[in-house]
């Protein structure tokens, strides 16, 4: 089973890297870019058997990983997808 975790900055948190990327896109001639927000994507291979209880239990476990380490919930949101 594989978990896919998206970590993104919360709305309202300044993202200077996203702004720099937006400017670079503009400089390359890509018009129509209103805003860019940069985040992280993390893939976790879950050990066979660790998903006892199915995708729901795995999602709860990975969400706990996000709360404790993968995301800083002061500034970041996270979203978990489970591929069984």
């Amino acid at each position: 089973m594989k978990a896919k975790v998206h970590v993104t900055l919360k709305p309202g948190v300044l993202d200077p890297q996203g702004k720099a990327i937006a400017h670079a896109l503009e400089a390359l001639g890509f018009d129509g870019v209103a805003d860019v927000r940069q985040g992280k994507y993390i893939e976790i291979d879950l050990k066979d058997g660790s998903g006892d209880g199915g995708a729901g239990a795995a999602e709860a476990r990975v969400s706990e990983m996000c709360e404790k380490l993968l995301a800083n919930t002061v500034i970041e949101n996270y979203r978990v997808e489970i591929d069984s």
Binding site: L14, P16, K68, L69, N72, V74, I75
Partner: protein, 229 residues
């Protein structure tokens, strides 16, 4: 004052900090490796600057979950003075010992230069006897020092007099340059609720000898050593 410095893989300011603490207190600090589970008895525990664990995931995130940090947190709960400088500040916020977060500098650039640091609360041991309003000179050296917290948290910090230091212009410095990283409300350092945990981005340990251009940092450590005995 008995002090201890916590050292992680990637920490690089521990020797500067040790020199400053010995200059101020006359006693060399105990160096504690991150795998040590116990801390020596100390009046002050310092989490110094550097790039613990290569800043992987987020600056300070890995070190914040190491066993030795649990001992630091337990000591902080008992009222022991804890100082986090630069990466140490990042580690303390990631560990939840201080509120908020430290984002990438607004300029996106690593900033390394002397800055002005205004004492915002002069009534703690960490202020070293400096009155509020006094501007000290010391360097910053970081890529992720842009302090952020939501408005409610910031108002609470200000209401409880928990802003330790704010960036301020040095003599001759313009109003658009003194905040080196975009920190909200020019915050350079904050206290926990008990006032015994301080996190700050500037490096007082690198302002302790005349050849470093400032000895204002030594004043802070000397005052702290006098207060902690």
């Amino acid at each position: 004052m008995k002090s201890a410095i916590v050292v992680f893989p990637g920490t690089n300011r521990e020797r500067d900090m040790a020199e400053a603490l010995e200059l101020a207190s006359g006693r060399p600090p105990a160096m504690v490796w991150h795998r040590d589970t116990g801390l020596p008895e100390a009046d002050l525990i310092v989490v110094p600057g550097g790039f613990s664990y290569g800043d992987y995931l987020r600056a300070g995130a890995m070190a914040a979950h190491s066993p030795v940090l649990r001992s630091v947190a337990a000591a902080a709960r008992r009222g022991v003075a804890v100082l986090g400088v630069c990466n140490g500040f990042q580690i303390l916020v990631e560990a939840g010992l201080l509120p908020g977060a430290l984002l990438r500098n607004a300029s996106l650039k690593f900033v390394c230069r002397d800055i002005g640091v205004r004492v915002a609360n002069g009534r703690t041991a960490f202020a070293g006897g400096c009155d509020a309003g006094r501007v000290l000179r010391m360097p910053v050296a970081h890529h992720d020092g842009n302090y952020f917290a939501d408005a409610e948290t910031l108002d609470r910090l200000e209401g409880e007099d928990r802003i330790a230091f704010r960036y301020a212009p040095l003599a001759g410095e313009g109003p658009d340059r003194f905040n080196p990283n975009g920190s909200v409300r020019d915050i350079a350092g904050i206290y926990n609720e008990g006032g015994n945990v301080l996190g700050m981005m500037p490096h007082p340990e690198n302002a302790v000898r005349p050849d470093q251009g400032s000895t204002d940092g030594l004043g802070l450590f000397a005052g702290l050593a006098a207060a902690l005995g």
